[in-house]
Amino acid sequence: MQEYREKERDKEWLDYRKGREVKTGLGGRWGRWATTLRGHWDIFKRNRLGLFGLVLLIIFAAMALTSYIPPLIDTMYDPMTGVDPDILWTQGPTKAHWLGTDFIGRDILSQLLVGARIAFLVGITAAFMAVAIGTSVGLISGYLGKRVDMVLMRVADIVMVLPGLLLILILSAVIGKLSVWNLVIIIGLLRWASVARVIRSQTLSLRERPYVQAAIISGASKGRIIFRHIGPNVLPLSFLYMTFGVTTAILVEAALAFLGFGDPGTVSWGMMLQWVWKTGNMFRAPYWLLPPGICISLITLSFYLIGRALDEVINPRLRQR
């Protein structure tokens, strides 16, 4: 104890303090991150399918951003309420409507662009929710073990095998008007279980690592150990699961909208398919049937491919030698 009170007199320490203040704080940490990321990128780059997925994703992101433009050009390009005054019925591609119009003369292209926005919104937020819940549950369950683990994992077991789509269907009927946000929450609440399982098993192995035990011996609380020591070490895995989760979330949203249980106030790709199906234009309007389906399939494919490539980055075991 005595020793430490002398810091005002310790010349070396004072020198070090001065030097540290001159340098920019913890700069080394960010530098380190950059190197790690570059290393990961190098591995990612080697996966051609992953790159393809990334390119697709960028295209869709561009679509989502462009979606704000058409309604600015003319109100008739508003995806939900805009109607071309000269077109009474669905029509093939023209100069004014590059992809044609739907059954009441709305522009299919602007609907398609907005669909990208909705897909991103739903996919990413829902997956984020699912992963956030799943990671927390997995961490808590894996670390605390015993009864908490048993209860949480039994719940996860049940949630995992529930036919999610059908449950959401029931929920949407119950809620009456399923807004996109409700949907996001529900998907989040139904999709965390598999993440929780993986994170739990990872936590179980991390829990036995000496550095965690060292932290226990330091007197660290359970919360601190879970979120400071184990948490950061499972995050890459969570991130990986998020990319896969986005795929599921987008598919669920689209399927729901297709069955007619989507948010009636939004234009999504599933909704577009539902319209083309329900209004009887399926066999007559390929320009209307094809784009939304292709978009849904490709965006899910892109997230899936990226997820696979990330998997190789995170699990070195999978890397091709």
Binding site: P163, L165, F258, L273, M282
Partner: protein, 325 residues
């Protein structure tokens, strides 16, 4: 842990979760806006008629009483009557479930077998053109949007080429004809099954194949494969007897889990192809606010999945002695 005890524990767990789901569904449906009686917009329905109808369904009682009645009946094995059809739910399900099972087991078995055999081959020849092309096909299959591919198939094979019927399960004229033999009837059902089956196959094949491929590649790294080579076994023997057999294990586990997902997709497929199955019935019941039917149909599906998972777990533990519970 002893096997019997394990199954017992899991069975209790299934029963408990069952009742939790039942309660949840009950609560959900009762807070749902619009009861089945008020859903009827018919100028002939007087308010008194609506009240009578509600009493008919037991909706006039307080919520907790309804719940108790529901529980009591459930334990007694009475699953109530459908609001919409007016007949016992169990009868409706009894009519529809076999159709669903027919479609599902066939599609899952076919896609799992195809997935295993292709995954095996391409993992063996990893890096080849065959590998990359089949992998891409598998990836696309895994991420395809099911309703869309179903609509496309209808469009191409039923509308353009006129090869298969659009919907339903049988051709009424054929079945009404007393001269039609049993073979013809079976073939007729098969003929109707081809399109929905292909859709489900397309969707599930990719998943199984990708799992088999990665699992096979893991297995090929194991020492016993090297040993087998050293023993001088033929490549075919190694692939079939040593690698594929062990690599197929993870596919078995996913089989159980994928059941839940395939039932989701099944509901859509059944809706699009008007396949008179339980998934379509559930979608229908949900849009009609037919609580008892939706409730029991969902519970039944959930139970099927839970039990299937239990079976898979036990099977898996049996096949792989390293697994502990």
């Amino acid at each position: 842990m002893h096997l019997g005890k394990f199954i017992l524990i899991r069975a209790t767990q299934i029963v408990v979760s069952f009742f939790i789901i039942l309660t949840l569904l009950f609560v959900l449906f009762r807070v749902a806006p619009g009861d089945p009686a008020s859903m009827v917009i018919d100028p002939q329905m007087t308010p008194e008629d609506v009240e009578v109808t509600r009493a008919l369904f037991g909706l006039d009682k307080p919520l907790y009483q309804q719940y108790l009645i529901c529980l009591k009946n459930f334990v007694k094995g009475e699953f109530g009557s459908s609001f919409y059809y007016g007949k016992p739910v169990i009868e409706i399900i009894g009519e529809k479930l076999p159709n669903t099972i027919l479609l599902f087991t066939t599609s899952i078995i076919l896609s799992a077998l195809a997935g295993i055999s292709w995954g095996k081959v391409i993992a063996w020849r990893r890096g080849s053109l065959l590998d990359s092309s089949v992998t891409v096909i598998g990836l696309v299959s895994h991420t395809l949007f099911l309703p869309w591919i179903a609509l496309l198939m209808v469009w191409v094979f039923a509308y353009w080429m006129n090869l298969f019927p659009l919907s339903g399960m049988i051709t009424p004229e054929l079945w009404l004809n007393p001269e039609t033999g049993i073979t013809m009837k079976v073939l007729d059902v098969l003929h109707h099954m081809v399109l929905p089956l292909s859709v489900l196959f397309t969707i599930h094949f990719g998943g199984f194949m990708l799992i088999m491929r990665s699992s096979m590649m893991e297995t090929l790294k194991e020492d016993y494969i090297v040993t087998a080579r050293a023993k001088g076994l033929t490549e075919r023997q190694i692939r079939e007897r040593h690698a594929a057999k062990n690599a197929a294990l993870p596919v078995v586990t996913t089989l159980g889990l994928s059941l839940a997902f395939s039932i989701n997709g099944g509901a859509i497929t059944e809706t699009i192809f008007s396949w008179p199955g339980i998934g379509r019935e559930l979608v229908f019941a949900v849009s009609n606010n037919d609580y008892p039917l939706a409730q029991i149909a969902f519970l039944l599906i959930a139970a099927l999945v839970l039990v299937a998972n239990l079976v898979v777990d036990v099977l898996y533990a049996y096949l792989d002695p390293r697994i502990k519970y």
